[in-house]
């Protein structure tokens, strides 16, 4: 029998934080959902495994290699929150992961121990479009409810009033994996790094969470021999760092993309980042919907207006509705600040 107090203590002791990018304390989130459930009829658990951020592939890797741990994590959450109250468990995957890895998860779910869990678990496959924004917790809720995919005003937070206004626990795949380890006292403060770009050994690696970017690249034998720069923490929203700035851990999403300095054309890179954001913008707020549209227009315009370009970038950072809109400036500004100055 699992004791919910001991679960939360172990999660706390392991110091687990969200792995979706926001790094929020997992123990705290669980406690909020549990408290909210006291006054509500039912609740939901959602496994967010629909990586929308380019350059991040670890959810698929984890589900592929550790399906038993992932399901064990879901099981723990269900037990902790009170299985009678949890109406449904959603495993939210993108098309690719669903096709490749859902069978593996289903096999685990068929184990007798998980019979009740299997009965209420539903796979939810992310549509091709709006891949990025539907990873945002509240937009994901709208997607499941069949509403327009866009972020909700917070508060209320999903933990208190989420899917169909009921308390909803949303955790990343990696968090569920870590949970199962933490409860067995096997969590060793590691995280999954996705490394790609101009490297010899791209892939997903499970290494210490506090490693510097340089150490990650060296330990995986990926330290480039020619001049390079990286984008860490997502290949869309991540910060661009030059090769002398790598004595720091990866922030946000655990990814490092390496670019070859001499062959990378800045304008092309800008165009690809902006295009990604323009296509992924949900359309809700002016700053992001119009801002990304205008940046895309400007960056390819023969009469490029630098002043206007950066005004729009600053405005995205300052006045967009959600974190998606305000994350594009990070890449653009850091590229200029860290490579061009």
């Amino acid at each position: 029998m699992i004791n919910s107090r001991s679960i939360i203590k172990k999660i706390e002791a392991a110091g687990l934080v969200g792995r979706g990018g926001a790094s929020y304390s997992t123990a705290q989130k669980w406690a909020v959902v549990k408290a909210a459930l006291k006054n509500k009829k039912s609740g939901y658990i959602i496994l967010n495994g629909a990586e929308g951020e380019p350059g991040v592939k670890k959810d698929g890797y984890i589900i592929n290699h550790y399906p038993a741990e992932v399901i064990a994590g879901l099981y723990l959450a269900d037990q902790f929150l009170g299985t009678a109250k949890i109406k449904k468990v959603y495993i939210f995957l993108n098309q690719e992961y669903y096709k490749k890895y859902s069978a593996g998860l289903k096999v685990i779910l068929e184990r007798p121990k998980y019979k009740f869990l299997e009965a209420k678990t539903e796979f939810f496959v992310k549509p091709e479009r709006l891949a990025y924004i539907s990873g945002e917790e509240s937009a994901l809720l709208n997607l499941i409810e069949g509403k327009k995919v866009e972020p909700r005003l917070k508060p209320p937070f999903p933990a208190e009033s989420g899917l169909y206004d009921q308390p909803t626990l949303i955790n990343n795949t990696e968090t569920f994996y870590n949970l199962s380890l933490a409860v067995k006292n096997k969590y060793r403060d590691t995280r999954f790094y996705t490394i790609d770009g101009a490297v010899k050994h791209s892939g997903v690696y499970n290494l210490a969470a506090n490693l510097t970017i340089e150490a990650v690249l060296r330990q995986t034998n990926n330290w480039p021999t020619s001049l390079f720069f990286v984008q860490a923490g997502g290949a869309a929203s991540g910060e661009v760092l030059n090769s002398h700035q790598l004595e720091r851990p990866v922030e946000g999403a655990g990814s490092i993309r390496v670019y070859d300095l001499s062959s990378t054309v800045g304008k092309k890179l800008f165009q690809s980042w902006i295009k990604f954001y323009q296509e992924q913008s949900c359309g809700k707020c002016t700053a992001c919907r119009e801002g990304t549209y205008r940046l895309a227009e400007l960056v390819s315009s023969p009469t490029y207006d630098d002043g206007l370009f950066w005004e729009i970038v600053d405005n995205l950072a300052d006045s967009s509705f959600c974190a998606l809109g305000s994350s594009l400036p990070e890449a653009l500004r850091s590229y200029v600040n860290n490579l061009k100055k």
């Binding site: 479009r129 005003l153 707020c285 002016t286 205008r294 005004e311």
Partner: protein
């Protein structure tokens, strides 16, 4: 709790937003997508403010106040963000200012000036989007849309869900639903909640302006009960102030030869309603409950969504159709004018009336009874365009053969008004018939008044108690539907609050404003000597004339039929003239 706005200590209650407190304090924070009756969406990003200690700017409409919070509404950072978001929004909105109804009060234009927005850096990006026209009532012009989503919410709040957002990001667009189980009922609530007039009525003012110059025509204006307490708002008069006198003067100045008050027609509608109620009570096979039919949007709703309830609708025509019929027959004969030369223009708080006027059964000798319908907004626009100083006009009195109706007619503009008027007459008639006993001889039925979406009352009639229900806001009809058979008589007005909240009313229309308009109507009712429709002798004279001449089916009654949906036309927009001039 206390907190600071621009270094000034202000007081607010827990649960209030920064915008609410600021506006109560007279601190100006601009907004476009915010509407007090709708969900806070925080889409437009114009009401941004800065809070000390917070990383990003926040929207005042969505941010709850906190003790000791320090808010800045005019900092350079705030101004820069507002200015840029306005620039982005203005470049979405294809400027068709030349004939735009709301230009005199255009918020975009005013904000562009206030924030010195640079309007020449970005090109209008939506010029080639389509306009969707619904019947002859409402249109949504995608080339002018600023993506606030208010129209979609207004439509959903009506329970219609006909307007949908298709696509996402910069490609998203408001479009009619492709679902064949949804249809536009022309209520115009979308137009009432659009901050930039992208959703608007299909205007008739250009044709009216033209016909006013045609000397071979006798052009007559007739104005609805509710517009007398709302039109003044367009000219800075207090909410709910009765300006029927100025309206008559203004319409005369615009060139209308005669100006009539639809209240007279409302008394006819009441007469027919009351008689029909009594007739149904005598008829064992009658369909129950009887339901009002003077709201054309509600009629469209029944004809599409609940055709099985068509027999329940009263056969009474709506007030402006009655009066137009009287004008083109009785009045024309008296004046010796050929009805063909009479042009009737109704001024209505409503967009659905435009569609109603096109109904083939509401015509005479192949000509529509009502030739054109203008909304309250369109009349305001014409008055402004003609540079008439409405506020200072000398009020005129109704000089027409058809008087300004009873007090019961005045309250037609408020939800519950038709019911109350019909009950006033019905109880009087029934008490006269039964002679001996007075059952429920009330004049005022206050239970059916007010903004509540669903109201009911019980009235003692000879031998039975009548249960009546009053609905305003179409979505509230679903509350009544399961227990429909418990009722004898139902009034439904499609728009929240009734016609005072109609789709053709001035912007903004909010619940708080509606309450003041309603109060204005009941004040008129109280001031009238005659407060029951059947006591209007001029109306009775006409009513008798119709009966004596066997014209009831041409002039008094109407009919309804099942509909398969609303007519949608999509129109491809060309580059606006405005844009062409400036490029």
């Amino acid at each position: 709790m206390q907190f600071k706005i621009d270094d000034k200590i202000v007081e607010g209650r827990e649960g209030q937003t920064i915008l609410e407190v600021a506006r109560a304090q007279g601190i100006n924070i601009p907004s476009l997508c915010y509407h007090p009756d709708l969900d806070v969406k925080a889409n437009c990003r114009v009401c941004l403010v800065e809070i000390k200690g917070r990383h990003k700017l926040v929207t005042a409409c969505s941010t709850l106040i906190q003790p000791a919070m320090e808010v800045y509404t005019t900092s350079p950072r705030v101004s820069a963000a507002r200015r840029l978001n306005l620039e982005l929004i203005i470049a979405e909105h294809t400027k068709k200012c030349g004939d735009c109804l709301i230009l005199p009060d255009c918020q975009l234009l005013q904000l562009a000036q206030e924030y010195q927005v640079k309007t020449n850096r970005l090109t209008e990006r939506k010029t080639l989007r389509q306009t969707y026209r619904f019947g002859s009532a409402v249109e949504v012009d995608g080339s002018q849309c600023i993506d606030c989503q208010n129209c979609v919410e207004a439509c959903a709040r009506q329970g219609i869900n006909y307007l949908k957002i298709k696509g996402s990001g910069s490609n998203q667009e408001v479009m009619p639903s492709r679902d064949s189980t949804a249809a536009c009922v022309y209520c115009g609530q979308c137009t009432l909640h659009c901050p930039v007039s992208a959703a608007q009525e299909q205007v008739a003012w250009p044709e009216v302006e033209k016909i006013l110059k045609d000397k071979s025509k006798v052009v007559i204006a007739q104005f609805a009960p509710s517009i007398r307490v709302s039109l003044g708002e367009e000219f800075g008069l207090p909410y709910g102030e009765n300006c029927e006198g100025q309206i008559i003067t203004a319409l005369k100045k615009l060139g209308f030869q005669e100006v009539l008050d639809v209240n007279f027609g409302a008394d006819i509608t009441t007469m027919v309603e009351a008689e029909e109620l009594l007739a149904r009570l005598r008829d064992k096979r009658a369909a129950w409950p009887m339901m009002t039919s003077c709201c054309p949007s509600w009629v469209s709703y029944v004809e599409f969504y609940h055709p099985e309830l068509i027999p329940n609708l009263t056969t009474a025509r709506s007030p402006h159709i009655h009066l137009a019929g009287a004008l083109k027959t009785y009045w024309a004969k008296q004046q010796g004018i050929n009805a063909k030369n009479i042009v009737v223009v109704s001024i209505m708080p409503c967009t659905a009336k435009k569609e109603e006027a096109r109904r083939p059964e509401l015509s005479l000798n192949g000509q529509p009874l009502v030739d054109y319908v203008l909304t309250t907004r369109e009349l305001a626009y014409l008055i402004k365009k003609a540079k008439i100083d409405f506020k200072n006009l000398v009020p005129s009195t109704n000089q027409s053969l058809f008087n300004s109706g009873s007090g019961a007619a005045a309250i037609y503009g408020a939800s519950g008004g038709v019911m109350e008027s019909a009950l006033r007459t019905a109880v009087s008639l029934v008490n006269k018939e039964s002679q001996n006993k007075i059952f429920d001889n009330r004049l005022e039925f206050t239970e059916v008044r007010g903004l509540q979406g669903f109201k009911e009352a019980k009235i003692q009639f000879p031998g039975q108690r009548l249960k009546v229900g009053v609905i305003n806001g179409l979505s509230n009809f679903s509350l009544l539907l399961p227990k429909l058979k418990d009722y004898h008589y139902i009034e439904v007005m499609a728009c929240p609050g009734g016609c005072i909240g109609g789709g053709g009313q001035p912007l903004p229309t909010t619940k708080a404003i509606c309450e003041k308009r309603i109060a204005g109507l009941y004040k008129i009712d109280k001031s009238r000597i005659i407060r029951r429709a059947h006591e209007n002798t001029a109306m009775q004279t006409y009513y008798q004339w119709v009966k004596d001449n066997h014209l009831s089916f041409q002039l008094i009654y109407t009919k309804f039929k099942k509909s398969n949906g609303s007519l949608v036309k999509s129109v491809v927009n060309k580059k606006s003239i405005f844009t062409q001039l400036f490029k």
